[in-house]
């Protein structure tokens, strides 16, 4: 077959400008703006149904946006067909060609583009993902993990400008998943392509990506480096979707130098202004569980603290999780690293003080429903 006629060479960052996709009355992707720098590993993280696949399909050209534009570098790809784009997809279900051998599956793309070395390229790529010994088999004769590697090879062999991975590890067991995460990262570093990795596993996104975007209801809630996002969530959804947070709704009552003072369930707490994403009126206050200390007696010196009662203790080896009921009735979780030779020996019913450094606290706009939704989505 002749070279696909309309193929567009485009190089550069992937840019989505005000991209919207509606299905009837339902808006699956809502006015999305996104820049993915060339050569970066970008993770799109979000709960089921938030529009991740729809976003990828629009980048691949399998779906056209209802509004907005998609660029790679300066080339506007909006409206072009999938086969015209320098973009390849690793499908969630692998979608290997069942009637072709593994080698022919991988050589499919290069052949369509008229590459004479299609077979050699296929063999090299199969070697890269370490399934070259299966080259003459059919997809049905491979295990899930092997099929996943072939799906990756089939996309990778084309050296696309942007590689889209739609939950490629979703169907695998934990061990294989971890192993393939490491390999994916290695391959990305080796070949230097732009990877967009969709997942609803926050740990996967955090460990692999340079940049993580958290998506919810068709919008991006927050985007940034994994560590930054974990350290300072900007919405109640992110606070509970990327790791967990102890959250409480309260009122801003005062300012104290660089700090904001809020009254949360009867306790006055401080939050650095730089970490306060909501600064007035009703806000949602939060601290990460591992930033909270559990103490037998009232702490001395700086920091905010509350008295409470131990509800439950679970020992997980590296750490111990305490569930502490506060006077207001809310239950906080606190992770204590098991560093001390003599750990504090607490039992349910014991009275304790919990304390944290205000430098770790944050506030976000109060939205308990979203916080709960995030908690349920990651349960």
């Amino acid at each position: 077959m002749a070279r696909s006629s309309g193929f567009r060479e485009a190089k550069g960052d992937l840019r989505l400008e005000s991209v919207t996709k509606s299905f009837g009355d339902f808006t699956a992707v809502d006015d999305l703006d996104l820049v993915v720098p060339r050569g970066s590993f970008f993770a799109l993280l979000g709960p089921s149904g938030c529009g991740k696949t729809t976003t990828l399909r629009m980048v691949a050209g399998l779906e056209q946006p209802s509004a907005g534009n998609i660029f790679i570098g300066e080339t506007d790809l909006t409206g072009s067909r999938p086969y015209e784009r320098p973009v390849n997809t690793v499908f969630q279900s692998y979608a290997l060609f069942p009637h072709l051998t593994i080698r022919d599956n991988v050589a499919f793309g290069p052949k369509r583009r008229g590459d004479r070395n299609a077979m050699t390229l296929a063999d090299e790529t199969l070697q890269l993902v370490q399934v070259d010994h299966l080259a003459s088999r059919k997809p049905a004769q491979l295990s899930g993990g092997q099929q996943q590697r072939v799906a990756l090879a089939r996309a990778l062999v084309n050296r696309p400008e942007v590689l889209l991975l739609d939950e490629p590890l979703g169907a695998l067991d934990l061990k294989l998943r971890r192993q393939l995460q490491v390999e994916l990262k290695r391959i990305q570093t080796e070949v230097g392509l732009t990877f967009i990795h969709v997942t609803h596993d926050q740990e996967e996104a955090m460990t692999m990506a340079d940049t993580v975007a958290v998506m919810n209801h068709g919008r991006i809630e927050q985007m940034g480096r994994p560590a930054d996002m974990y350290d300072l969530p900007l919405t109640s959804f992110v606070a509970n979707f990327v790791g967990r947070s102890n959250l409480g709704v309260g009122q801003v009552v005062d300012r104290d130098g660089d700090n904001l003072v809020a009254e949360v369930q009867g306790t006055k707490v401080k939050v650095p202004l730089a970490r306060a994403n909501a600064k007035d009126g009703t806000v949602m206050f939060g601290v990460r569980p591992e930033k909270v200390r559990v103490l037998r007696s009232a702490p001395e010196g700086g920091g905010d603290d509350v008295k409470g009662t131990v509800l439950d203790v679970s020992f997980t080896g590296v750490a111990t999780e305490y569930l502490v009921r506060l006077p207001s009735g809310t239950v906080w979780s606190c992770y204590e690293q098991n560093l001390d030779v003599d750990p504090i020996d607490l039992r349910p019913g014991d009275d304790v003080w919990i304390s944290w450094d205000p430098a770790h606290a944050f506030t976000v706009a109060a939205d308990e429903a979203e916080a709960r939704a995030a908690e349920e989505a990651t349960a």
Binding site: Y83, V87, A95, L100
Partner: protein, 305 residues
Amino acid sequence: MSALAHVGQAGGGGPTDPAPAQERAGRSWLPYLLLLPGALWLFVFFVIPLLQLFTVSLQSQFPGYPGYYYRDVNFSNYLRALTDFAPQFGRSLLFAGLATFFAFCLAYPLAYAMAFKAGRWRNVMLIAVIAPFFTSFILRTVAWRQILADEGPVASTLNALHLLPGGHITETWAAVVAGLTYNFLPFMVLPIYASLERADHRVIEAGGDLYANGFTTFRTVTLPMSMPGVIAGTLLTFIPAAGDYVNADLLGADNTKMVGNVIESQFFRVLGGFPVAAALSFTLMALILAMVFVYVRRFGTEELL
């Protein structure tokens, strides 16, 4: 029917289960028990009559007593079947081949539309394909004979416009092929539809994602994935069409007779025709078996392109 077995196993993309672990020894008779009723049925109603037919095909006639035979090993019946009735054999294969071809040409787009484009009309179309089975095949063919008859609406209109060269539609080979095509069309549509419907849409999308345009994706992905259905459909059309005599009888003329017609007349209308009719039946069966074997060996495997 290795072809049909093939239909069952092809198509799926998932990993196949490893062979099930050995059954416990005490239960190994169960599959045979389940096979028993079917096997008995086939033995009584298929194997025995077949053997009977085979012995008939080797019988000789009592000289001077037309209609009476004695047991013999007389292969001249086969010689007669092949020499005297070669034109009918040729026509059977030709007509069945043409009908299969036309049925394929009609069925594939229809099945494709049903599987991919019909949306909520899919079930309506499916019923429309199956609906003809609610009336008898012979009645429908009789109806076609009336529709296509010289004084019928089609032929008279075409004649009035001087568009019908021979003046007739019925009693031509075209009418026979059209009848065969019509009658066996559902057998072509349904397996193709089933294989297309089962095909993973993501796999077809993957073709587009990997630089194949619409037509190339069809040629290299969709069509090969539907091959099991195409093979099943062509077999289900060709085999009964090659042995059919109703269409040639009702829509054709003497010069469009097929093997089925000869067998029928040798059995029921010609005194002393039994052995030849039986030999014709066996020859037809062997011929079709051989062709199906070659066909499935050639196309039943994966690659067509």
